[in-house]
């Protein structure tokens, strides 16, 4: 074992031990009587001791506050005090305030904890009751009942219908995805076909261009970045190599795009008019 930090697994320090804020209970404790402990009837207990185990003394939050952070009997007049005295008075007031808040906070925290525990207990008791209900225990299937009858309950007509509907939705969804992909591919092919050579003239032109260059075209590193940027732009604006994609075409055909543009223009005009009004008034 090393020295210093090595002793604590190379951590710079250790946290202080968690202490309870309230040393005494803040509420009266209810201790359920255990029949298996204590003195039996007719048996005397030692002198100077109590027959029942004494309960711890209760100190409520109000009591604690009134006893520990009492307000001073004479409230000093701050105007007559010098700087050091003023600081002392304000600091002690703050300290009292902080202590009061922390006690109240701790009280509410403990109350909440107790409430949640009570809820949990009640829930577990109810669950146990429902599990151990005689009606359930007596109607539980036995191995014999499984062997004599069916080992599985068949689907009810409603369940069958729900399952059918789910499968139909899944099928339609898959079909839609497939159709969209096919349409996008077709659109991409359509855009790419602009560069296709489709007649003799274009072929000759392409050949002459290819053989007229004196140098071989080496891959340009800048070109790559351009490709990446175009991909980025495509994904950002939903386009295919700068051309409109399937959704944009669909919006154009249905007229949604036009109506949207008109609305935007209208709003922009209204905003512009407002701005001018404000400038004139100002």
């Amino acid at each position: 074992m090393g020295k210093g930090a090595a002793k604590f697994g190379y951590k710079s320090g250790t946290l202080p031990e968690v202490r309870q804020i309230f040393k005494n209970p803040i509420k009266p404790i209810v201790r359920p009587k255990n029949p298996n402990t204590g003195y039996a009837d007719g048996i005397q207990h030692p002198k100077g001791t109590s027959r029942e185990q004494p309960l711890p003394t209760v100190k409520t939050v109000e009591e604690l506050i009134s006893k520990t952070v009492q307000e001073p009997k004479q409230i000093p007049d701050l105007t007559k005090l010098n700087e050091i005295q003023k600081e002392k008075v304000t600091k002690s007031t703050l300290r009292r305030e902080y202590y009061r808040t922390i006690l109240k906070k701790e009280e509410s925290k403990l109350n909440k904890k107790e409430e949640s525990q009570q809820k949990k207990d009640l829930k577990s008791v109810n669950e146990k009751k429902s599990q151990n209900a005689e009606s359930i225990e007596l109607t539980l299937p036995t191995i014999e009942s499984y062997l004599q009858g069916p080992i599985m309950r068949q689907r009810t007509p409603e369940e069958t219908e729900i399952l059918k509907a789910k499968r139909e939705v899944n099928r339609l969804n898959t079909e839609l995805i497939g159709k969209t992909n096919r349409a996008t591919n077709l659109l991409e092919l359509y855009y790419a076909s602009e560069k296709f050579i489709i007649n003799e003239k274009e072929l000759e032109e392409a050949i002459s261009v290819a053989f007229s260059s004196k140098h071989f075209n080496l891959p340009d590193p800048e070109n790559r970045t351009v490709q990446h940027t175009s991909k980025f732009v495509d994904s950002l604006f939903n386009t295919i190599k700068g051309e409109p994609d399937l959704n944009q075409i669909h919006e154009k055909i249905t007229g949604k795009a036009d109506s949207f543009r008109q609305e935007v223009e209208k709003l922009a005009k209204e905003q512009h008019a407002k701005n001018i009004d404000q400038e004139l008034r100002g």
Binding site: L140, P141, I143, I151, M152, R153, R155
Partner: protein
């Protein structure tokens, strides 16, 4: 197919007893339930519970077509003197060689004679028979006593 599944279960149970597992799960089918019931009756296993892939159910759960594939039979395994109570679980009738015995042949086998190369059961051994027509699984003695004929499934010791 059922014999193949039974062979898988047989091999699985042999394997888990060799590593001294306390419980194991097998698929929930009628044949497996039948076999497990006989194992429990004869004292080879300590418990049978219905459950799922994670463990036995704590509260009753209905078996439906949606959860039948995940439903499992959880068997409690037994050990005595640091040795498994169930050490051998082998098929007699195999998918490639199914052995159907008549009621007379079953009686002969139960009385201690070797029939069609099947050795007679030892005192600590259990032989299970799947009856013709009713398809119920009985142990060899019961099948012989009830004058049944059927397929000899497996032997366990």
């Amino acid at each position: 197919m059922s014999l193949v599944k039974l062979a898988n279960v047989a091999a699985h149970i042999q394997n888990v007893t060799r590593i001294y597992a306390s419980t194991t799960s097998i698929p929930f089918t009628r044949l497996h339930l039948d076999v497990a019931t006989h194992l429990h009756k004869q004292g080879f296993i300590s418990s049978i519970q219905k459950g799922d892939l994670t463990g036995p159910h704590s509260s009753p759960v209905e078996t439906t077509p949606d959860n039948i594939a995940q439903t499992k039979l959880w068997l409690g395994l037994k050990y005595r003197d640091n040795k498994p109570v169930l050490s051998k679980f082998q098929l007699i009738s195999k998918p490639s060689n199914k052995i159907h015995l008549s009621s007379e042949q079953l009686k002969e086998l139960a009385s201690g004679k070797s029939v069609r190369l099947i050795n007679p059961p030892q005192p600590n051994e259990l032989i299970l028979v799947k009856c013709h027509k009713t398809k119920e699984v009985l142990d060899l003695d019961d099948a012989a006593a009830k004058d049944k004929s059927g397929e000899v499934l497996c032997r366990i010791r």
